[in-house]
Symmetry: C2
Subunit: 359 residues, 2 copies
DNA sequence: ATTAGCACTCGTAGGGTAAGAGTGCCAGCA
DNA sequence: TGCTGGCACTCTTACCCTACGAGTGCTAAT
């Protein structure tokens, strides 16, 4: 059923007002503030219809109206207009992204913090990591019983590890190790590193001291680490400021659920096509979030990898502003990480394209 | 003033009971449960004295007694006996530490999570990092416009960065860079890397493409990162389960305070000599924590560095159990990180001593 | 020194009432 | 036919009052 123009305006007014105040909104308020030149009685009739249509509901007979999930959905899909960010807001985001450039490894979780700060809701940030392989090994000989393993992965991340030995090794041996590993251990996934492979490598270079095993263990470690996704929650405390989470039990339920990285990761599935996704109340799969809404934005992490930042709040969330801020941050993050877009030049590095690979 | 044996027993009983129930405890309860063979009236007299001595207080005239900060202090110093951990508990801790060995870089914050899980209070974990210098640089030539910078720091941490260039460099140039950096940029702190030094290095090798600046920027980045401490909070949601934080405003105040790494770091100062420190209520410097207690345990992170794990809870905290658990965890962590103690062998690595340096 | 008894205090829970906000509906008007 | 003012009704919230009970402090007796 199509909504009349006036119904739309009224619905939007209810949602806007409820978002701002968290109180059920009455006909009088709307009559005064919505710009419609009609009386509260007329509004009441419209409200009654919107209620039977399922877009609004009443907590009890003599209370004002509150949007239903369906009502929010219409609002998000048709009625809301993406808020323009103020000059200061875009500047704050830009500044944070720029600052954080220096330490890209913490970028993602820091951006989570930024999102939490900007929106005043708890925010989540995650990266999706694909299974990868080692592209090349380098061994740096430090002294007679110390060397550094450096491995460059298929996604161009670089990992290293310092190894102290309780015995001496010759530089030539280190070089030999390097050669063998580059021959046998590159281009294979974690699962393919078998004990068999290790022992055959051991034999081929006459390693009796377990060096091969050490390096292989390192390879397994970093490959499994790359596979695992990283998800963080920032600003959980912000939940407690919201009237709908004054009940500590509710707040605890939600916050506890979100503290588990596993849950964060299962929130959306990465399977949405749009850059922005809004999950309203019962649209969430998790029981714990049936009374909350989630807004997610995808960003491009370079090398074809994607990540998600998002915000969790009550269904009465300020969808338009939050969505605008998230998109802007996600956008900036994409530019920083993938180097595309380039209108925000990387400060201090001139024309060079830098990728920090310290994880 | 010295406390009589009976007063001590009564004080301990009050604290124990209050810790367990969070309710003011009355004379009758103690008469029945404390094993003292006296009537409640006698207890009442003793309670009255303990109250005037400042170890107990009454929320109001006709309520039971609640320990004061001073009372807790006596309890912690003299009365409580360190809880023995159960077999399962020590096993859980050991297992977690063992599991985490594979990914030492996340160890510290994971141990925070462990502490939160084991104690059911929010836990914090931090490392103290000393200002350091670069010990050696290595540049790995990958292809004509890509190389990897590897830097080993004075504390033996190893950092790396992948650099993509928009132009070609010859392998000989990379080698030259490596030599110059090892000569001029090792052994100096972040502050000592001046524009002057950079430009003189640039001239000495005829670098017109800004390569020197890139590597110098990297050096500055990792040195400043090393200096900055890392502090995380885990399990903040657990606060909400405690009766003293049913008031969302209180919970918010504390949680918000703890969300800031800066604050965590200023909690104790690292300046305590003992391995275990208990800060009770008003003993905390921060206004926000005047109603809470903090238990901190130091661990040894190897190479002379120390870290802290801790737990935050209400003054009515289960000091004995929490202290026992924290000490045990800190101990295990020291062994894992510094390799000393050695009774828990590092699984899978035989006799080799491994240090993961990916931060 | 300990105890039993008792009057007293004070917070909390329960119930009853008044106020206020908002509705639904009806009758009148354009 | 659609809009509006008016009015009775509903329901929640805040407030006050009271009764109850837990726990105390004191006194007199052992």
């Amino acid at each position: 059923m199509e909504l009349s123009e006036r119904k739309k305006k009224i619905l939007a007014a209810v949602v806007d007002e409820y978002i701002a105040t968290a109180e059920p909104v009455g006909s009088k308020h709307i009559a005064e503030k919505s710009g419609l030149e009609v009386s509260s009685a007329t509004i009441r009739n419209e409200l009654a219809e919107l209620t039977t249509m399922g877009y609004l509901q009443q907590p009890h007979t003599s209370a004002g109206r509150v949007p239903t999930a369906q009502g929010y959905r219409i609002y998000v899909n048709e009625l809301m207009q993406l808020q323009k960010l103020s000059e200061e807001e875009t500047q704050e985001i830009n500044r944070t992204l720029d600052d954080r450039l220096r330490q890209l490894d913490r970028l993602v979780s820091d951006v989570g913090k930024l999102a939490a700060e900007m929106t005043n809701y708890p925010a989540l940030a995650m990266t999706a990591k694909a299974p990868s392989t080692v592209k090349r090994f380098d061994l740096i000989y430090v002294d007679s019983n110390t060397f550094i393993i450096v491995a460059m992965l298929s996604d161009n991340a670089v990992k290293n590890k310092l190894v102290h030995l309780p015995f001496s090794v010759e530089q030539s041996m280190v070089q030999k190790l390097s050669t063998v590993f580059n021959a046998s251990f590159t281009g294979i996934t974690e699962e393919q590193i078998s004990p068999l492979l290790i022992s055959s490598a051991e034999r081929s270079m006459g390693d009796t001291m377990g060096l091969t095993a050490v390096i292989a263990a390192f390879a397994i470690e970093i490959l499994s680490e790359e596979k695992a996704a990283q998800a963080t929650l920032s600003g959980g405390a912000k939940l407690l400021q919201l009237p709908e989470f004054r009940d500590p039990d509710k707040a605890h339920k939600v916050m506890n659920y979100l503290s588990d990285a596993e849950h964060l990761y299962n929130l959306p599935g990465m399977d949405f096509g749009d850059d922005l996704k809004v999950l309203i109340g019962p649209e969430n799969i998790a029981e714990e979030l049936k009374d909350s809404s989630v807004i997610l934005a995808k960003y491009n992490a370079g090398d074809g990898m994607q990540g998600i930042i998002g915000v969790v709040g009550p269904t009465r969330m300020d969808y338009s502003t939050v969505a605008a801020k998230l998109s802007y941050i996600a956008d900036g993050l994409s530019k920083v990480l993938s180097g595309s877009g380039g209108d925000k030049a990387l400060p201090g590095f001139g024309k060079l394209m830098i990728k920090d690979t310290n994880e």
